[in-house]
Symmetry: C2
DNA sequence: AATGAAGGTCTCTAAATGAGACCTATATTC
DNA sequence: GAATATAGGTCTCATTTAGAGACCTTCATT
């Protein structure tokens, strides 16, 4: 945007704070995104197979479900197990890491539920102006 | 075939909630999205002006900053105040609703920070296969 | 045979995002 | 007095990402 801001960027880098490449952000981007949140909430009560998840989340596409599951698996939040049935079935379940994350996610969801009315009221007021 | 409804999602479904049209999701979509999260964290320590936020978040565009601020303002999470300086300056700060949300957000960020190493290790292993 | 279910991949389109030019008004610098 | 900077945005256009849905392979059942 401005060439003058190069100095600032260098400062941030020197301080070890680079928001543009922040690892915390990379983690949250996977774990707090729309579909992953719903997948995790569905896994709260136990393992699910691929098509079970598809049916539980009526408006997710196979493509996005696959991608969400891969991302979460890669981050070690859930595990993928293939069972040698016919046809083979695939089970997804939370790892310990995932279990540790769930309470935070649920706290957020509770807050959202509890703040719903305030938020809807705020929206109405805003839209009137 | 119907299992007992323990999970949050199951609960909602039992209450007739349709995940495809879930109001909680609409709230989280604003509040837990990439840029809004960073804006909120920046506001944790006090009000900021538009260009202060731009400078604090080096890789956000004006377009996305404006949009994030509008969404959060509309939801009543932050307030926008215009001061009659020359040129006019605009201050953004958390509302009470926003203040109530921040602890949950920070808990999430702490978890992300604390789980970083596990996650990075999981990624390396996954990528090797 | 035909159909269905398992767990995906692939392609194509639609929507969201990012880069950055532009705007109005005042203030400062050369 | 012309150029440049700062404030807080909007607008356009190219790139990315998401979504809809056809298609695939291998058994088992109808």
């Amino acid at each position: 945007m401005q060439r003058l801001s190069d100095g600032k960027l260098d400062q941030w880098k020197a301080e070890g704070f680079n928001p543009a490449n922040c690892p915390v952000r990379q983690v949250l981007d996977h774990v707090s995104a729309k579909w992953p949140v719903l997948v995790l909430m569905e896994l709260e009560t136990g393992p699910r197979r691929f098509n079970e998840l598809l049916r539980a989340l009526p408006d997710i596409s196979k493509r996005m479900l696959t991608q969400s599951l891969r991302d979460l698996e890669r981050d070690g939040i859930l595990r993928r197990e293939v069972f040698d049935t016919k046809p083979p079935s695939v089970s997804y379940s939370l790892t310990e890491l995932g279990e540790g994350f769930l309470p935070h996610l649920l706290a957020l969801v509770d807050w959202a539920e509890g703040s719903m009315q305030n938020i809807l009221t705020a929206r109405k007021e805003f839209d009137l102006r």
